[in-house]
């Protein structure tokens, strides 16, 4: 069991290092958000490994809180980024511009009386 846990911990460490590479080098902030979520999963897995090594249930609330905090943080930052770029992005390329309807800011009643 000790050897298995050591091997699993080594794999998790390598995974965390690779994710940190992407977190540092990611060309856009969206890549960094994806990398941060994967890094949080790696952290959860590491805490779970420690909990399995000690055979204790002390860390289970920590796992729960880590999962929820990761979700809320990722969604908040993604919403912030998408709203910002919707309004102030450059000219169109091959991917079309955002359509008028379905906008986050409610425009009905202001543009069409």
């Amino acid at each position: 069991m000790t050897i298995v846990l050591a091997v699993a911990l080594a794999m998790l460490g390598a995974a965390a290092a690779l994710v940190l590479v992407r977190l540092f080098a990611g060309p856009s902030n969206l890549d960094r958000i994806v990398a941060a979520e994967v890094l949080l999963v790696v952290v959860i897995a590491g805490v779970a490994l420690e909990s399995a090594r000690q055979r204790t249930t002390t860390y289970l609330p920590l796992l729960m809180i880590l999962g929820l905090v990761g979700f809320v943080g990722g969604v908040a930052v993604t919403r912030f980024l998408s709203r910002d770029s919707d309004q102030s992005d450059g000219p169109a390329s091959e991917v079309p511009q955002r359509a008028e309807r379905g906008n986050d800011v409610p425009t009905e009643g202001r543009e069409r009386p």
Binding site: V19, D31, I44, T57, L63, S85, R101
Partner: protein, 121 residues
């Protein structure tokens, strides 16, 4: 060979597989060229890797309180990770971070053009 050692062995195998999936997802995250394909790589440790790790932990702990908490955590992850992945993909498309040549089917651009052509009354 008792039942307990059998459960320990199964838990160890699950922990190893989960850690390997985390490593595979990290390798894909580094090597893939696009935000959407990186999202594809990132969902592997987020769902199956985490489920395997938590199953291994449950098989190792073997108490009902631990099992219910871990099932709750796995269900939460199942419900929340598609939401955040959807948001990241949506923001990537709207930010024109998507390489249009790598897409086999692009139904969203057709839908956006149609909705721009005839706006709702």
């Amino acid at each position: 060979m008792t039942w307990w050692s059998l459960l320990d062995g199964a838990g160890a195998v699950c922990l190893l597989l989960g850690a390997f999936l985390c490593l595979a997802g990290a390798v894909g995250l580094v090597r893939f060229p696009d935000t959407l394909s990186r999202l594809h790589a990132a969902t592997k440790p987020q769902t199956l890797g985490l489920i395997l790790i938590l199953a291994g932990l449950a098989l190792t702990l073997r108490t009902w309180a631990a099992v219910t908490t871990l099932v709750l955590l796995a269900a939460t992850q199942f419900f929340t990770s598609p939401v955040s992945a959807h948001l990241v993909g949506r923001a990537a498309y709207r930010n024109r971070r998507v390489d249009a040549d790598t897409l086999e089917v692009d139904e969203l651009s057709d839908a956006l053009q149609r909705s721009r052509a005839d706006p709702p009354s």
